[in-house]
Each structure stands twice: as C-alpha cells, then as structure tokens.
C-alpha cells in the first residue's frame, strides 16, 4: 500500500537540504521496495525544524524534523512510516506544536498542508469559496465587504484596501488593471514568498475577486527575480486555474473575464515602491512617479489600477468566504484582522507567526522565537525591513499594530522582525541603511540620490571620531532633509533606522577609538 509523505518544496526548506532528503527517501524506497508518494508542500513556517517530514497515518499527520539525508534510514528503521514515536526527531502532530497551535492562521491556514500545485486539493481545503461568494455579488458589495473588514494594505503603508478599490470601481475606463506587488525586498520578510510557493491559488483567487469587484479584466503579478520558485508555482497555478475556468473569459460561469500574467523584476529594490513597479511593468526604468495622480486613477499604462501587496490580496478570500465581521473581530484599534509576522535574523525559532494585531514584540520574540540563536542577550530589533526603526529592549512591549508602532517612531511595514544580539554595532547598521539607500535609489529626487551617499560619509566620520559633535548635528539635518524632501518612502524612511539607532544606542556613535572588528573592517 502506498504511504503518503509531505516534504516541503519551499525555498527555505530547500536552502536547508529538502531536495537531498527527498533523494534519500527515494533511495530507501527503492532498496526496501516501499511504495512512497512524496508531496512537495509549502512550509508550515517553522524553519528551525525544516526540512520537516510529515507522514500521513490513520491518526493524522505525524511530523519529524529537522531531517537530514543521513537521518532517513534511521527514521524508517524506527517506523516513522507508521508514525513511530521512538526516533529523536519525532515531533508528533504538527498542528499540536505550540508554535503553530498558538497562532491565528487565517491567511496561512492551508500553507504547508496542501499540495500547492493541485487545484483540487486547494478546492478540497475551502479554496475558491471566497470567489464563489463574490460572483453572486455586485462589485460595490464586494468593495463594501472589504472596506467593512477593516483590511489595510499589508505592504507597509497600511492604507485601507477598500477605499483604494472604491476609487477604481467608481471610474469609467475602457480598461482597468489589478496589479500585485510581489517585490518583497525587505530583509527579514518572507511571507509573500511562502504563500506564493505554498498556496499560490490563494493569490490567484484574491486577485480575481479584486478584478470582479472593480471591473478589471486583466491582472499582473510582479515577482522579484530572487524568487524563481514562487514564479514557477504561480505559473503552474495560473495554467490550472485557466483550465478549470477559474480564470479566463468567463470566470466560474459569471460571464465576467479575468486574465492573469506574471512579470519578473530584475533586482531593483525600488520596484517595491508602487509607482516604480508600474513603470517597470510598462518596460521602463523603475523611476518613482510623483503622486498625484494616484495609481488608482492613473496607474498601469495610464489606466485605473488597483495595486496591492500579496498579503493584502490573500486576505480577501477569507473575508468574502467568512464575512467581514469574522475578519474584523481579530485585531485591535484601527488594525483589524491578522498579520503574518516574520521572525528572522538572530533568533532561535525563526519562522512565520500569523497573529491578530496587538501581540507585543516581546511576546513574538520570546514566546514564539525563544530568544536569540546565538544564546546571547538581545540588544536591538529592527521591525519593518531596511526602512524600519531599530528598537531597544526597553521598547519590546510595544504592541504590533500600525498606530502603536508609529507612536514608538517605528513602523510595522511588511511585518518583518529582525533580531540582533549584543554583538551588533548600531553605528554600522545606521551606515548600512544609508549605503543601501545609495545603492537602490532610483535617482529621481536629490535628497535620496545624494543624501544617502553623504549620509554614508558623515557616519564614517562619526565612527572615525572626526569632528564628531558637528557631524552628529549634520547627520540630524541630513535625516530631516531626506525625511521631508524625498519623493517616496525609500529616501523618506531611510532616516528611520538611522535616527532610531542614534536615539536608542548613542553609545555606539561615541566610541573613543574605531574598533577593528571583522564587521567594521568590512564596512571600511
């Protein structure tokens, strides 16, 4: 009898040797004459346990991890194919692992469970129920449900999704577009990647609903080139959805058309900025556009365009299926629903944590993350990517919601949380923020293009103890200029990590002698 195994094909699992584990399983199957069916699922997001093998047994799935190719023979000897409990890598039922059990997975409900290439598996796990509800509704009613749910843009800015959609719905045009921003460039974030690799039909469904809602017949997903696996999974999903009539000239018999195409970025961080992304989609340099006009009014090829982040679109099917109230009942204040947080960097239990808004940074890092990977004390936490602030440990009780983070002079951004232990040098981190901005600036506005390079130079002088006091004043002025004068968030938010480092870790900018650590030498 065939035994079904799940071993993730997720990039994170691949980077930890998942393919080699599959090869070892196939070798054992041949030599022992076993009939194994290996499904490459997405990751459950428990990366310290990847590659995590799951075996389907009559009692449900049983997990083992982290598995190396050398463990495979021993696992089979210890009867893992029947859910045997004797092997040291035995984890029990995955859904009972506290890290997973204590989450509120709405968006990531299926990720790691289904076969991401199989549309039937998606449908069998409540897939396409949101779209089914949507085709019976008027566009305005769909928009109303999204507005009512309180969903805000998960890319970082937190703009209410429903209001954006309403603007596009209200415009007359011969063509409207739905564009998905899958240019997930922030360090510390991988939720978009995980959902595209592990549950790609969810994104296809979310965008299709958006198309029906605003009357757009064509959509584009702009995926960064660093995510080739996500691209391939979506390519497969789009073909399958077309074949089954979930995409195409007559979506689910509604008489309405919706087509989806994929486009690949080319290594430019700035293309995660929405107007730059639209330029890139049009085949141009990724130069930021001045706003107004908003993309909702004049977007892709000058047409009304809904442009949202992956995590915004993938929240929509749940809202349509279970209702706006269901979704809205999660969260706090004006941040409603759940947020897929990503625990990264120097952390013992890194991974994906989907929780209702309002959990504190400390709860995520300590209760889920289990402290640093190196075992040293935490010194700083950067939240929200390379443009997010560095938090000291005294601010770890800040709740993760849009307003509370802003009040602490930080931002939630795309939900990436990067932990640093006490070996971090915040002057170097501030320098890197400026350096990154200089590398990735599109060059359109002066504060960003030139300010970032000047910023690197000023921080170098501070580190080298040249006119330190005057240069600190200069750095403050430069940050204010970038903040107020930049055209988009790259130049406008680069001061966040810099100023937070100065504010919370002044001692790092005030060392008597430049230290010659490996890291510092690297920066010089």
């Amino acid at each position: 009898m065939s035994i079904t195994l799940y071993l993730p094909g997720d990039s994170g699992a691949l980077a930890l040797g998942a393919d080699e584990v599959v090869t070892a399983l196939q070798v054992e199957a041949l030599t022992r004459k076993l009939d194994l069916k290996i499904i490459r699922n997405g990751s459950r997001g428990l990366f310290w346990l990847e590659p995590m093998l799951e075996v389907v047994t009559p009692a449900g799935r049983i997990a083992y991890g982290p598995v190396t190719p050398h463990d495979v023979a021993g696992l089979i000897d210890d009867d893992c194919l029947n859910g045997g409990q004797n092997h040291p890598l035995y984890l029990g039922k995955p859904e009972e692992i506290p890290y997973l059990k204590n989450q509120e997975r709405l968006t990531f409900a299926r990720c790691g469970i289904i076969d991401p290439t199989d549309i039937e598996d998606y449908i069998a796990h409540e897939g396409y129920r949101g779209l089914k509800a949507a085709i019976r509704m008027q566009g305005a009613a769909i928009v109303e449900a999204v507005t009512e749910s309180g969903l805000r843009g998960r890319g970082g800015a937190g703009f209410p999704t429903g209001i954006k959609w309403k603007t596009v719905l209200g415009l007359e045009a011969d063509q409207k577009y739905i564009v998905c921003n899958a240019d997930e460039g922030d360090s510390g974030t991988f939720a978009d990647r995980m959902i595209m690799e592990g549950d790609p039909f969810l994104l296809v469904e979310g965008m299709t609903i958006a198309g029906l809602a605003v009357g757009a017949t064509k959509g584009f997903i702009y995926i960064r080139s660093e995510y080739p696996d996500a691209y391939r999974q979506l390519e497969t999903a789009i073909v399958a959805a077309n074949r089954k009539g979930y995409l195409g000239p007559d979506v689910m018999g509604s008489g309405k058309a919706f087509q989806l195409e994929l486009r690949l970025g080319a290594g430019a961080y700035i293309c995660g900025e929405e107007t730059s992304l639209l330029e890139s989609l049009e085949g141009k340099r990724g130069m930021v556009r001045a706003k107004p006009p908003l993309p909702a009014i004049k977007g892709l090829f000058g047409k009304p365009t809904v442009i949202n982040n992956v995590l915004s679109f993938v929240a929509v099917p749940t809202i349509l299926d279970k209702g706006a109230t269901f979704y809205k009942d999660f969260g706090m204040g004006r941040s409603r629903g759940t947020m897929p947080l990503q625990l990264a960097g120097n952390i013992r239990h890194g991974g994906l944590v989907e929780k209702a808004f309002g959990i504190t940074l400390r709860q995520v890092i300590e209760d889920f993350g289990g402290g640093t990977a190196t075992g040293k004390p935490i010194r700083a936490v950067q939240v929200g990517g390379p443009l997010g602030a560095y938090f000291p440990t005294s601010l770890l009780d800040t709740p993760l919601d849009y307003e509370a983070m802003a009040a602490a002079k930080g931002m939630l951004g795309h939900g990436g949380i990067v932990v640093f232990d006490d070996s971090v040098d915040l002057a170097l981190q501030a320098r890197f923020a400026m350096e990154f901005c200089a590398i990735e600036s599109c060059g359109k506005c002066t504060p960003c293009r030139i300010g970032s390079t000047r910023g690197v130079e000023v921080i170098d002088r501070i580190i080298n103890n040249e006119n330190r006091e005057k240069n600190m004043v200069l750095l403050g002025d430069l940050c204010d200029t970038m903040l107020d004068g930049s055209l988009c968030a790259l130049g406008g938010l680069t001061p966040f990590p810099v100023q937070s480092a100065v504010r919370h870790f002044p001692e790092d900018f005030n060392r008597p002698q430049p230290q010659r650590s490996a890291g510092r030498a690297a920066a010089e």
Binding site: S11, G12, A15, L16, E226, R263, I347, G350, P386, A522
Partner: protein
Amino acid sequence: MSGLAAARSWDNDAALSIVQEKKNLDGALMPILHALNDEFGYVDASVVPIIAEELNLSRAEVHGVLTFYHDFRKAPAGRHVIKICRAESCQSMAGRELEEHAKRHLRVEMGETSPDKKFTLEAVYCLGLCACSPAMTIDGKLHGRVTPARFDALVAEKH
C-alpha cells in the same frame, strides 16, 4: 532568471527571434531582456539597436532600462555565480564575516569574476531566507545558515 552562467555564446540572429517572440507582450522590454539574459548569460550591447527598432523605442531608452536593473549582465559571468546576501537579517548572523571570508577565499571583490573565469561573486539584498540566515546561492541553488566552513565545502564541490 537567477543570472546563471552563459548557456551559449551571443548570437544576434537568435537574439532577434527572442525579441520578436516577446515583442507583443504588454511592457515587453523587461521580459525580452530577461529572456536574453537567461539565454546567453548576459545582454550584449549590440542588441540595443535591434530591440529599439522592434519596439519602436529610442536606443537611449533601451540602454536606460538595460543599465537600470542589477540583474542584466553587460558581460558574461564566470562559470559559477555565487550570490551572498548582504541585508540586515544575514548581518545579524555573521553575514558580514561570511562576505569577507568569501572575498578572501575567492580573491575577488563583490561584483567581480576571478581571473580564471571560474567564479563570479555578487551581492544580493535578501533571498527571503531570513529565518535561516546567513544565506547565499551558488548557480541558483539556495543555501541557508552558511558558515565559512560550509562556504568552503560548497565551493570545493565546484572545483
């Protein structure tokens, strides 16, 4: 798609047929440049007037796009392409030290190819592997939690 080493040497006739195959896509220039970069391992400057002619753009516009994006190579890479993540999450797990080690080991700076054309070392800013930092790729294959020793072992496999 991930800037691998050249599959074949540059051929303007083959390049033209790639351009013609993709030219009717919406926003065709990016898919065209990607296809050329994938096919030949780089985009030769001689294709700029060809693309300009086919897409009814100026040569300056095509050149501008070609040079804006980090992914499009102007010359062939070495036989093996190593990309090391330089972003914050990897920094928190000794990524800077890994980068220094790689440069010393391969005797190149970031963005350079070794004199024997065997290795090209490049920076990448986030591979989305931030829960297993530091991360890198060799010829597109992903590796997480890379130590200097692991780096040496992975490079030795390519020798």
